[in-house]
Structure formats: C-alpha cells, structure tokens
C-alpha cells in the first residue's frame, strides 16, 4: 500500500474527520436550531430598539439602519457561534478521543482542521440565516459584498474556533471554561461597536476600542455593505484576521499536543 504524505495526507485526513463530525452534528438538529435562535432575537427584538440611538447625520455608525446593524450582527454571530465549540473538545479529551487520534498516523494539523471546518460550516448556515431574515427588514446586498463579508466571517471563525479549543484544552473542565471565555468575549464584543455605536462612547473608550481587532471587522463589514471597499478598515480587518488565524492555529496545535502528554 502506498501511503500518502504531505498535503494530500492532510487533505484526506481532514476530509474524513470533517465528514463524520458533520454527520454527528446533523443528527441532533435541535442544537443547530437553538444556535440559530440568537440572531433571530437580535434582529427582531433588539434592532428595533436602536432606531432612536442613531447619531445625527447617520454615516458609518448609523446602526439604527438595518444596513448597518446586520453587518455588525454577522460579526457577533461569528464570535458567539464559534466561541463555545471548546465544550465538545473537553468531552473528546475526557473520553480519550484526542489521545486515540494522536497515536494514529493522521496528520496533526488535520486533527484540528476537521473540527474547525465543521465549525465554519455551522457558521455559514447561521450567516445565511441572518441574510435571509434581514432582507425583509430592508437589507440591501451586492454579490461582491456578500462574498467579501462571508469571507471575513470565515476568517473570524478560523480564529475563534481554535482559540476556543485552546482554552478548552487548558481548562480541561466545563466549569472553568465558561468564565474564561466570558472574560475574553465580553470586552471584545462591547468594544466592537456591534450593539451600540462607538460614536456614543467617551474618547478613552474609543481609543481602547482601536486596539480591538473585532472593531475593524465590524467597521469593515459595514463598509463592505455600503459598497465602500476602499475604507481602510477593510484591509486592516482582513490582514489582522489572517495573522490571528495563524497564531490561533499554532496555539491550538500546541495545546492539543500538551493536553495528551
């Protein structure tokens, strides 16, 4: 038998795991529906509240408009849709799945990639739902804009999902995991300008938000929906997410190795 090596091996191993993970996920559709509930709530129960907080003159931070709120909501869905995937990792670690996989000849990268790609797939379903639900509210979409925004959301998921796995592998139990994730996610979300425009914020808070990569993602997402691809936030968002993807993967691979030692 001729054995694959290098990229074909990584691709084959990743695909085999991804397909099984997806099958397992689709067997409990309840959880998929439950995860879709959050964007529905925000679109129909929260967005109407924002009508009156739009800054005078509209502009980039006019989140009272669906064309500004929906792009921000997409980022939030990308963040919270993938943030808690680590709980599954704790289960896999406890039941010896990770250890078993690491003794096989499977490529080490594929062990992470199979899971992360499943998470990206889940996110794509949620993203599609946000688009569909936003259309009746007046969302205007352009084909190139949709491609770019979805691409950006995939990058966010490629950062957050391995990050969540790393935290899971470090915490090793569910009770510690929740508080740690909240510790990181709450400031990231509040300082991103998704829920309330940062133009309402005092200067120090706005300065602080300049250090939040997620803020550029939100700004970029809105700019792309406006059709303003030359906005600097667009390239900053793509570049910073690309760098973070590499860091997040590197960290998660390391934690997977250490967790089974």
């Amino acid at each position: 038998m001729k054995l694959r090596t290098g990229l074909p091996k990584i691709a084959a191993d990743t695909w085999a795991q991804y397909v099984l993970y997806l099958k397992i996920e689709l067997r409990s559709p309840f959880w998929i529906l439950a995860s879709l509930f959050q964007p529905v709530c925000y679109l129909y129960l929260f967005a109407p509240l924002l009508k009156n907080v739009s800054p005078a003159g509209g502009g980039a931070d006019d989140i009272g408009s669906i064309n500004s709120f929906a792009p921000g909501l997409l980022v939030m869905v990308a963040l919270f849709g993938t943030l808690f995937v680590g709980y599954g990792m704790i289960e896999y670690l406890r039941s010896g799945v990770i250890e078993r996989l690491r003794v096989t000849t499977a490529s080490r990268l594929s062990l992470l990639l199979g899971l992360v790609l499943r998470d990206v797939t889940t996110l794509l379903m949620q993203t599609a739902l946000v688009f569909v639900l936003s259309l009746p509210l007046g969302l205007v979409i352009r084909p190139l804009g949709v491609v770019l925004v979805v691409g950006l959301m995939v990058l966010v998921a490629l950062v957050i999902s391995p990050f969540s796995y790393s935290i899971a592998l470090l915490a090793k139990n569910e009770d510690a995991m929740g508080p740690i994730l909240n510790f990181f996610s709450q400031p990231l979300l509040l300082l991103s300008g998704v829920l309330l425009p940062l133009t309402l914020a005092p200067l120090w808070l706005r300065t602080l938000s300049d250090a939040n990569p997620l803020r550029y993602v939100v700004d970029a997402s809105r700019a792309i929906f406006r059709g303003d691809l030359s906005d600097p936030s667009v390239w900053i968002a793509f570049a910073s997410m690309a760098v973070l993807v590499v860091i997040a993967f590197g960290w998660a691979m390391r934690q997977m190795r250490k967790a089974t030692e």
Binding site: M1, L3, R4, K9, A12, D13, A16, Q17, L20, K23, I24, R27, S28, E91, R94, S95, G96, V97, I98, E99, R100, L101, R102, V103, T104, T105, A106, T260, E261
Partner: protein, 332 residues
C-alpha cells in the same frame, strides 16, 4: 526480532503546585520479543501507563532510549505509528457515532481508501462478532461491546504491535473472559500484544511473559510460571483445635522441608518446599502427637506472592496505598 527494546527509560513529571517532581518511570529496561502477550503488572501509579504512553509516541521520555518495531522512538515516531495500535483505558471512540463509523474513520486515518476501510471494517465486525450492535451509537453500547469496538479500532490497520491499557478494567467477569478470548485470537494471528493490568489473574491467565512494576521500576520479569517457581515455596494451612495450635506449630516448624511456620488463629500456616512431597510426612507427625486435624489446605504461590517477595508488600496493599495517594494515581 524484538518488538520493544528500551534502555534507561525515565519520565519525571513536574510537581503540581509546589509539590516536588514525580518520578513516574525510573530506568526501565525492557525487551519484548515478537509474538505472544506481554503483560505489565503493577498497582495503580506504578508507572505502567506512563511507560505505555511513551512507547506509543504520546509522551516524550525525560531520558533513555527506545526502539519500537525496529524504529527509534524519537527520530521515527511518524513511521512507527503505522506499525502500532493503541487502545487506551478510556477507549476514545466517538460516543455519538456508530461503532462502524468509528472503525471506518480509524482505517481512513491510517491511509486506507473509503472502500478499503469499509471492507476492513466489515472483516473486523465479523471477526469480533459485532454485527448485532456495530450500527448503533457507541454511547448506547454495554461496557463489553464498547471494548470490542475499541479493540476493533486498534487493529483496523493490522498493526504488528498492539498496546492495550488496562483492557478489562470495569468489565464483569463474563465479559472479561470473552475479551480474553478475543485477545488470545490476536496472538494466533501473529500480533504482539503489550498490555498493562493490575489484575493478578489477568496477568497469570493471559500473558506469556510478564513484567512487574512498582514505584516506576521493573522489579521482576519472566513467564508467570517461572516467576512463581522462583518464589520456591508452597503454602500449607493445617487447621487444628485451638488448644493444640501452638503445639502443632512447634512440631511442624522443625520438620524437613518446612521453611517457616506461623500461627493463624486455630491453624498453622507453613511455607514449604515442594508441598506435594512434604505433606505426606507432616500429617503423621501430628497424628502421632495425638493432634486431630480439622482441615488441610495447600496452595501454589500466586503472582501476589511474587509481588510480595519483590516489593515487600502485597498487591492489594500497594493498590490501597496508591489510591490513598490520590493524585499520584493519575500518573498511572
């Protein structure tokens, strides 16, 4: 050919929160020949699992060298994985996938095509008698069925050497006996099996060669029969009336072949060389002294005696110690 050769294998873990370093494995030299079942016997915390985790490429040794299936553990870890299988104590099957799906994925991760993996999975299902339940989710299976799935995953790629960590822990006696049979069939197909166990009877009944470990060191190794013979004594218990007990002990202590005699309630416990020859001479002595014999028992040395001889304490006692140490048990 040797399947495993190690020299001076050591693993020291950093202590948790201020505790000193833990020497889980100290200077282990092993030689495991191809073919047969090799058992690693010892109480929890003896270092069995840690040694196995090093030999399966999961854990980097602190010191020492090891060759597994002819390959260097450090430089050829990747190639080595193709030749070994590993079934951990926890198994590691996906709970929410079926046994069959678990088998197929395992095969594919070892480089089989989808068709080849399915064909192999069918063969494994037939061989281990899993047809009835292999299409059910693993989480719904009984302990014994699940162990079969775990073992099936371990042999999907026809490894030359199969590691089993505590394969029957937690199984009921019936399932254990069935699982032993399955492991024996593996031996017949030429797979070398390396297992850890803290069950004396498992080591005794199943293994061709055993290696006793305690506190991270190998304290004895050889075929179970040879180890027991080396203890060099059989145990004879003679029950008498309580008032005769001390007199009986004194009479028997000096008899030929008797190495030690001690009182145990209304019985005398003897340690004798070759019990079948000593016993016929011992009983008339008591009869001549007018001591009535209530019962006679003789037993061959067990692996527990071997453990007692080599470590100075019984296996169950050692097991209790490691349980009391709590955290240390985790180093396995």
């Amino acid at each position: 050919m040797d399947m495993i050769v190690t020299q001076g294998l050591c693993k020291t873990f950093k202590g948790k929160r201020g505790a000193g370093p833990v020497e889980a494995v100290r200077d282990v030299d092993l030689q495991v020949r191809a073919g047969g079942i090799f058992g690693f016997l010892g109480p929890n915390g003896a270092g069995k699992t840690t040694t196995m985790r090093m030999l399966t490429t999961l854990l980097a040794p602190t010191r020492g060298t090891a060759t597994v299936v002819g390959r260097d553990l450090f430089r050829e870890a990747r190639a080595l994985r193709q030749d070994i299988g590993y079934v951990s104590q926890k198994g590691g099957a996906y709970e929410y996938a079926t046994g069959y799906e678990n088998l197929v994925l395992q095969g594919r991760l070892y480089g089989l095509t989808k068709a080849a993996a399915c064909a192999k999975a069918d063969a494994v299902v037939a061989r281990f008698g899993m047809a009835e339940y292999c299409k059910r989710d693993v989480r719904t299976l009984s302990g014994g069925q699940r162990r079969h799935v775990d073992l099936g995953m371990g042999v999907m790629h026809d490894p030359k050497l199969l590691f089993l960590d505590e394969p029957t822990t937690g199984l009921d006696p019936h399932s254990r006996a069935r699982f032993w049979d399955v492991i024996r069939t593996l031996r017949e197909t030429g797979v070398t099996v390396f297992l850890t166990t803290h069950y004396l009877d498992e080591a005794d009944n199943l293994c061709d060669t055993i290696c006793i470990m305690d506190h991270g060191r190998v304290v004895a190794s050889g075929p179970p029969e040879a180890l027991k013979r080396a203890v060099g004594a059989d145990f004879v218990t003679i029950g008498v009336a309580p008032e005769d007990a001390e007199r009986a002990r004194a009479l028997l202590a000096g008899a030929p072949g008797v190495k030690a005699a001690e009182l145990a309630g209304d019985a005398v416990k003897l340690s004798v060389e070759a019990g079948e020859r000593a016993l016929p001479a011992l009983l008339p002595r008591l009869a001549e002294a007018g001591i009535a014999i209530a019962r006679v028992e003789m037993s061959r040395p067990t692996l527990d005696e071997v453990f007692l001889r080599t470590t100075g304490r019984g296996m169950s006692e050692a097991q209790g110690e490691s349980d009391a140490e709590g955290g240390a048990g985790g180093w396995g």
